[in-house]
Symmetry: C2
Subunit: 237 residues, 2 copies
């Protein structure tokens, strides 16, 4: 039997029509689709995004990617899912995997890539990142000309975040969730509060844009998908 192939399809940031034309077309040709679910049994945003592009009889396999601190638990999950996908390709199937945003940036897909690369044919379809969508939505540019940009996770040390804010014209601060007050104080100390926008749930129905971070009265209600974009060459308010 001719072996199958794995198609990794980036869904983009959230709205169904921010997927690429190629991604939408390939989704309609799959035999089976693996869907990452953050929480056991939780609804997958990625699946909601692509639902309209799928054929009716598609086999959907929702798989849990543990967020726990146990490396052993995570490794076992990745090994198991990679093996399942590999076995599906051995049956000659077209096997899809969907990934929010871009599948090669801050995505769990890469843990599967490590296990499958070289064993099976893989095609990866890139996607629109959340920060590109945020920049477009807020009409707040990223780097230009000879400027530079840093993309940081707010889980990094504060000294590392401070350094990035000093050295780059534009900084994307991802994973703000639970760290908003600390990041806001850092931006105030660096005189960058009026050069920052926060966008939550970009391109979704619940999208919110704050051009003045002081307007966020209760950070506890900020959604999980909240990102701050800083550009010291552009004013936000």
């Amino acid at each position: 039997m001719k072996p199958g192939k794995i198609f990794v399809i980036s869904t983009g940031p959230g709205s169904s029509d921010l997927i690429t034309v190629r991604g939408a077309r390939l989704l309609g040709q799959l035999d089976v689709l693996y869907v990452p679910a953050g929480k056991q049994g939780g609804e997958s945003l990625a699946l909601t995004i692509v639902r309209d592009y799928l054929v009716d009889d598609l086999v959907i396999r929702t798989r849990h990617f543990p967020m726990s601190k146990s490396q052993q638990e995570k490794t076992a999950a990745w090994d198991g899912i990679a093996e399942e996908m590999y076995q599906d390709t051995r049956q000659g199937l077209k096997v899809g995997f969907i990934s929010l945003g871009d599948s090669m940036l801050f995505s769990t897909w890469v843990f599967l890539l490590e296990r499958l690369q070289g064993k099976v044919e893989i095609e990866i379809v890139p996607g629109v990142t959340s920060f590109s969508a945020i920049s477009a939505m807020a009409q707040f540019p990223m780097a230009m000309e000879t400027q530079s940009m840093a993309v940081m996770a707010c889980t990094a040390d504060e000294v590392v975040l401070a350094r990035a804010l000093e050295q780059h014209d534009c900084v994307v601060l991802m994973k703000v969730y639970g760290r908003f007050e600390q990041i806001k104080q850092l931006l105030i100390r660096k005189n960058l509060l009026s050069h920052a926008v926060l966008v939550a749930n970009v391109s979704l129905a619940e999208e919110r844009c704050f051009t003045d971070l002081n307007q966020i009265a209760d950070p506890a209600v900020l959604p999980y998908f909240s990102t701050i974009l800083v550009n010291r060459r552009w004013s936000s308010c």
Copy 2:
């Protein structure tokens, strides 16, 4: 008359089907499309990418964006193009502008945004960046988990590039054109040559991927659209 609107549509990195579904749909609804041309009279890659999505009777206005060092010349060009687009919207037209990659990152569109923001309704459609396409094509990941990424233009000072290579797990080096040998020596000094890939003309028919930068015998033939992706956590060869 009801005023028109400006639609800024990111084309993605080069292949027609790496545009977003939204971008493709909006292109088919335009009355007039502004196309940036780098060289006077030069063919526009951005126009080639979107050609299939355009209606037959679309008015196409190719406009020259000077690359010269004269700020006065550039300012005059941007002023003129922004004013033309604005006048078109005053006629009630749907006015498009296309931009390679993502329109808010290293794009001349932002010079028009500066002039049009607040004067007219603008919708910006984000796109797939060249580095996302390169990472997918080369199956060479960008940052993960708590790692960070810097996006740099090789026109920056070497000391700035060296610092980015020291401080970030992943570095995108854009605008390699004409600076390959210098960048390669820098990567050798930083022990990063085996953690770097170079992709030229990503997603186009002439696409080339080098997982070993020593294979590039004559850098003079490297195309204009050449980008190096560095990831110190991943081996390229």
